[in-house]
Symmetry: C2
Subunit: 330 residues, 2 copies
């Protein structure tokens, strides 16, 4: 970590011009027909003194920062934290770094952050869109900044995205609950949210229920709700449900709390998303597990492709979920 070496230092030491060094460094030695001897000598010297080009100057010149902006709802949320972890790993493999922020559900903050990242000449965006982000994302696309959404997408903007197969997962989970012939009343607890992942989970549930010619029971909840204890109780007990599908792990945990505090017995149930708790709880909890690693992998793969070649076609990737059957649904 001695003082920074410049390309000019290399050139001087090697008795060649800066250009030659630059070409060699950027793998254009062949193309520019630099002699192999010179090339190797430069490479060896560069290695020896540990020269690293100044990224800033490089970026200023080339317009590429090798920086990806990651905007998630909340990096403190284990799901997003895990995606972030794998995204970073994948990005690193491709020589990119990640600059992140949590946008909560604040559209203004999201817009501001996108602006700020844009000013930093981020090479691409990875975003979990908040509800009213369409105009901003549309602008990004018009500005030709490679952008990819995940977890959910925007119905009114054509973009790249990677999402889980929420519809099928919810459908399969509901089917699983219906395999037990005693289960006549199977409910869904979801969020007040128009986001696609919630919508798809609900539709998957609905389809399975419809196919069995049963009545659907759907309860939506606001997570900030003080009343969720009562709501859970009334929904589950009041309807005498035989089984419930929860569309997020938070909802499941919230229901477990309610059952404890309001002292009612949980029916059979399944939760979306994994949680450390689920294996351990008594009974262990059946869950719909998203393939986080694959999601991260696809995100970076598609995004990098978009960055490296303009006018790639839009990619929309749907990653299957896995139903992990445990005791709570049996």
């Amino acid at each position: 970590m001695k003082k920074r070496i410049l390309i000019s230092d290399i050139a001087r030491a090697m008795g060649v011009s800066i250009t030659t060094v630059s070409f060699v460094l950027n793998g254009k030695a062949e193309e520019k027909r630099i002699s192999e001897e010179v090339t190797n000598r430069i490479l060896a010297y560069v290695e020896k003194v540990g020269y690293k080009p100044n990224q800033l100057a490089k970026s200023l010149r080339s317009g590429e920062t090798k920086l990806l902006g990651l905007l998630v709802e909340d990096i403190g949320n284990p799901f997003f934290a895990n995606v972030a972890k794998h995204i970073e790993k994948e990005a690193y493999k491709n020589d990119y770094h990640i600059i992140y922020c949590s946008i909560a559900n604040d559209d203004n903050r999201a817009k501001e952050l996108i602006d700020l990242f844009y000013d930093r000449h981020i090479d691409g965006f990875i975003i979990t869109p908040t509800d009213n982000l369409s105009p901003t994302v549309r602008m990004l696309i018009q500005s030709k900044i490679p952008t990819i959404l995940f977890d959910r997408y925007l119905t009114d903007v054509e973009t790249n995205y990677v999402v889980s197969d929420n519809f099928k997962a919810a459908y399969d989970a509901t089917k699983h609950l219906l395999e037990n012939k005693n289960h006549q009343k199977v409910g869904l607890v979801s969020l007040y949210s128009n986001q696609t992942q919630m919508r798809d989970r609900m539709e998957g549930y609905r389809k399975a229920i419809d196919e069995s010619r049963l009545q659907n029971f759907i309860q939506k909840i606001s997570l900030d709700e003080d009343m969720s204890n009562d709501i859970m109780h009334d929904f589950i007990v009041g309807n005498q449900l035989d089984a419930v599908l929860f569309s997020t792990n938070y909802l499941t945990i919230s229901a477990l709390k309610s059952s404890k505090e309001k002292n009612f017995t949980m029916p059979k149930f399944i939760s979306f998303d994994e949680h450390t708790l689920f294996n351990l709880y008594e009974p262990s909890i059946t869950s719909i597990s998203q393939n986080i690693k694959e999601i991260a992998h696809q995100l970076i793969k598609v995004l990098i492709k978009q960055i490296s070649s303009k006018d790639e076609p839009i990619r929309q990737v749907v990653v299957p979920c896995e139903l992990k059957i445990r005791a709570s649904s049996l």
Copy 2:
């Protein structure tokens, strides 16, 4: 997000030189005695067209990137994810952005990443040091790059750091377990690790045990251990412990798993760190909660101070923990 406006565009439109615009933009209008009329006209125009200076050019010139490097053990770990969340928030308030990576426990990767971040002219580093990172951190300090450690520190390098008061927290927790006069055998489960946070937790435990003139029972575990079920069982049941302190939440969860799988009853216990599970578990779990928000706040505060004024004295901040007494310890 129209096409980027340059400072020269502003200058041309205003009929002044680039210099003048630059001065005004950088708040040096007064100092350079630019007429108020011109200043205001420029400011108004800049506002109107939404001009934002190119950060890259600015950085190349000034050497400041307004980027902070965050190197944590594992961003997927809820503790670090939460710290990361608050760090980002605090950084944002101060006009900084965060570029992160997980370094696992891989010293080489850590070194490489630090190198890479250094090449990006990161303004400062926030690091959870892995065991053999001392040489690298020392180099960073010699290179005058503002650096601050957290969660644990290095005993052989004098650095800024922010850590929890692990010693006192462990001491208090152990004391709490000893308040019950039936608790004669109080054990500690910790990790094979020389990191300061683990050492301090052990010392706090030891001191409390010593003060009561009791025997200490300490079990260290490797987390990758397949045998942890047996080890937990043998340690807790074999020693007929009355109570246990776990020095990480992972260890607690691992013990709960063991108790389930090996079918033994957990004695009274306390866990370091919070976890969603802890409130909910039966019995609810007493835990030592680190003040993550305060840790993040201090980290950024100290680091920014170091960045803005060279030769600030080294700061070492110790943040108190809170013992959240729940059912498992009563």
